[in-house]
Subunit: 343 residues, 4 copies
């Protein structure tokens, strides 16, 4: 039996979430999210965000949430500024473009973050009316490489966006691990205040599926249900999402799981360093990115599931990815470390 | 406590389906449907369809399955022939049009069915290259009004489509109740043989969510995963769909539930007739459509959840809809009948 | 040599328009419509419309102007209310749907007009958030069957739209003949005031090509150039459109040609009646629609070019269409009348 | 009066083209390109291409031709490989993405060309089904920086594409100048043989407007008129395009004009070098790209129209562009050279 470090969606739901689903399964509820569970979960999220006017919408998955929000917020001639390494640019089969919008790529570094000074030349160049109009900046927290935005960084980005009439949208597929990270100083309330919309990812942190989109900018809230339905993002048995988010958020389970996943990743990261492994980035969240010689790959394959991330700079080296989650045990980490060779 | 007859997605999953989900929740599985449960469920479906070459794809919901299949199968200038009363035309916020395809509406009668002679004038008119090219006929079994296609009807439609180079796609959101109906003489194997693609609806028959799309036409099978991902229809924890469809189909639970739902609807329908109620159609499946005087509505509202379907022909009358499902008890039907007035 | 009555785009430009193009051809102008001719033509149009705040945009053809305006004005989940017989619904290969918007068809009568009471049930039905949101009413003047809106009719429609937060967009591909008709009591200023946007068709009234879109609603004016470019509707040598519209409008040539076309059509219509021909509608513009026995078709084919319009109510009869234009001579009309049989 | 070197679409049509249009203006022709001029021009093009099975389609402008062809050729999940500096990527307001297709950018050098070894890593990376499927390679001849493909280069690219099941589409907006260049060894027949589709640009070489798309791959030919109409690319008075292309191609006028434009550019380029000006690339066609100190810009502005191309590598320097065309006189070049300062 190999150790499972391939990703944070290899297990179903946290037992408490599953229990909540089971308990409510046969009680009978109205469809499409028009139920009391969704109402309560939305209220909980608005409270946590200290944003009573926020519109909260539950969707099923991350790719879907990204393109639905972008399609809802933009006009046809408007484009999205995003990191070249972002999930929307490189892992979603052109879903944003399929809704008609061009992604204007920022060449982000290994941390996957976007900074105002990287957006400026894009704005400058796109004053020309023969190009799309940059209108929305998409970032992720944690980023694709597991890094987190600081409050100072997000504030700077937010101010820049507001000065330049740009919307700021944050992909929160791994928001739990970001906010639970030691490197983080942001709160949900900060996110609601500094972005126009963001989402709280459930799929990668203990739910069967589900993302909670928080639209704090009132100008973007209207008619959202219609586009959600049009794009296939409305779950008929919508209360399943409300039940899960209530279970995740009412007693802090969501952040507890994320802290656990981060702690397991930190333990793995330290252990690898102790064994002489090099890392691509020093990740403060639940993803760990060793740089390994290709010759070592068969030995790693033999003991665990993981993912090839991308070729490393030097020839003969690959960046690989280990991911932890709510269900990663300390014994899994220690077992993996014991099974991996020293470099 | 009101009786619940509003729809067939008011309850979660059948207990056996839920157990299967719970048992497998923490065992660890690869994502995106690349797991053993999906493989086994696909094999099961290919067997039931007697169609070893069929491509089986799991998607999350009905609207999503409809537009994803249509977008995958058609070229930009091709249109969909569908009943004016079809779900894709009137209940999905223009999802098909949002993928760029025009719906060419057939004025279907109360039974919601399409017949070759209704398609012919559309083909005739659209020979003109200034109009879209009709390329796919979309039908549903059961139809929106709960009626089922006979083998003779589907064979005639299939032959017509093949003669005229039209694809035939069947929306099977309520396929369980259709195939389990006493009025039905079709099998899954017939559907695989007579259509180019169809789906076996899970959401409305005992699953938390999930539709199994069966693409029997090899020309339509390529690259389907990519468009499914692009349109947000890939579940990260894809095995959840495989687990559910295996539980639904391996021991006949799927058809057992459908037969039960149909029997409950038949009981309700007979009971209503006995009380002097008029029906819009004589439904052989799990939807019952009484025509009620508007003055009666408050009394009905007081005892049950149901849906207003559409205005009836006569002024002051409305067609309403009662729906049964796997979780409708005989006592619910009898209780409702007792609570409703005689006409 | 057969008489040419097939349509109003069978000839190039009016000689004065062509001269203007020839004179300016080699003088050198900046591209994309950023030239003095376009500026002057726009000013002329704003003056004629008594609407100094109007945004005027030149596009190349009618289909293009229809879908570009609709795509620019609507959000993805919004639909277009239009006559089933409208050009956008039945002659443009689903161009509106290709931009993602559903057309909600009004069953218009032979006159092709839409009335508020026909829109009301559509609004009523589409309150349901599982349907597209009706947001724009599209009409044409003249309509597809050559009829014109009266000021009273357009005012009623405009008021209804404003009360119900609907945009009103008028397809003016044949606006010249509509405004020049004896049945008309509308002015360009009325159109600018009563609609949100409309266009002055050049292609069907003496230009090589070109439509002048007048957007009087300031909320719809922003960024129009970008979407025009994105949808291929910007002419590189944009001054060609400005030169033509200046030539058409500065001395009344546009309306003079339209009056002539209408007069020729009236002469033809009277002549046909005198010969015992039946007409589908009594057209006040440049299209004439006889109802002819199919047995007569070979005789008509032998003497002129015309178009089959649609089957007539009675079997064995077809509605055909004759169209006149700026270049139709009185001798053409009289010659055709002489050549056609008496009924 | 300033010298006009801003672009090759600053003048209308060559006098011979304009005469042809004038002569045929009032003779009466059937619409939509179904006329004898279009037929003859298509036959002429098929002959020049030595490709009797080619489908020839006339469209109005370059952006339109690019996105219409791409939308016609691709399925929704397929992407376009193109140079980052290509017109479709940076000058068309995201028109390709507006049809739903992602552009996979190749980082081309100053010459703007794509080579097989630059496509390989894109194919490698996109084997992953979570990314779009690269399916079409788009190149331009001349490129955006005025360079031309050699027969060896295009052959290598063509072979690579065929080996990897990629379509090859060539943007020929400036094909005249490319084929007329001294650096060129390709013929129209080579293009028809080595690409799947390409177009012969009229707008930038002596026509009022118009591009002739040549689809040599039979698999891409079907139903093209319908998508052309859907995307607004059908000219009602379609013979205007046939008349122009016949005039351009029947006696070699097209290549004569291109040779002239190239000669004028070469004269300008040599003259600038003689005055000590530095050039970004040594252009063999009708575009010249000097690198000028920003301090010099006011002096250049005072004597001519040109375009800022992009910032040069060194700070304080800009790459600017001069363009010649059929109507550029030797005296214009010499006058400009005399008026510009020595560096």
């Amino acid at each position: 039996m190999k150790y499972l470090f391939r990703n944070d969606y290899s297990f179903g739901a946290h037992p408490k979430v599953l229990s909540a689903l089971a308990e409510t399964s046969l009680e009978g509820n109205v469809g499409y999210g028009d139920d009391a569970y969704c109402d309560r979960a939305k209220a909980l999220i608005r409270d946590l965000c200290q944003c009573p006017q926020a519109e909260v919408q539950f969707l099923i998955g991350g790719t879907q949430t990204n393109f639905t929000a972008i399609a809802a917020f933009l006009r046809p001639w408007e484009g999205v500024v995003a990191a070249d390494s972002s999930h929307i640019n490189g892992h979603e089969v052109g879903a944003v473009e399929a809704t008609g919008h061009k992604i204007l790529q920022v060449c982000a570094g290994a941390d996957g973050k976007i900074r105002p000074e990287q957006i400026e030349p894009i704005l400058e160049r796109h004053r020309d009316e023969h190009l799309v109009k940059p209108r929305l900046v998409e970032i992720a927290d944690a980023t694709e490489s597991g890094m987190v935005y600081t409050k100072a960084e997000l504030t700077a980005l937010s101010e820049f966006c507001r000065e330049h009439d740009l919307l700021l949208f944050l992909d929160g597929a791994r928001l739990g691990c970001a906010l639970a990270s030691g490197a983080n100083d942001l709160t949900l309330a900060d996110l609601a205040r500094l972005t126009d919309a963001f989402y709280i990812g459930g799929t990668k942190n203990g739910a069967l599926m589900g993302e909670a989109l928080v639209i704090s900018n009132p100008a973007l809230q209207g008619d959202f249900f219609r586009i959600k339905k049009q794009l296939g993002a409305v779950l008929a048995k919508g209360w399943l999402l409300g039940v899960q988010f209530e279970a995740l958020l009412k007693d802090g389970l969501y952040f507890e799981m994320a802290r656990h996943a981060n702690a397991m990743a930190a333990r793995l990261q330290s252990g690898l360093k102790a064994k002489g492994w090099k890392l691509w980035v020093d990740s403060p969240t639940n993803q760990v990115f060793p740089i390994v010689p290709d010759s070592l790959k068969p030995q790693i394959d033999a003991v665990c599931h993981y993912e090839d991330w991308c070729p490393a700079d030097g020839p003969g080296y690959t960046i690989i990815r280990f991911v932890t989650c709510f269900n990663t045990e300390k014994s899994d980490v220690d077992g993996l470390l014991a099974a991996l060779p020293t470099l």
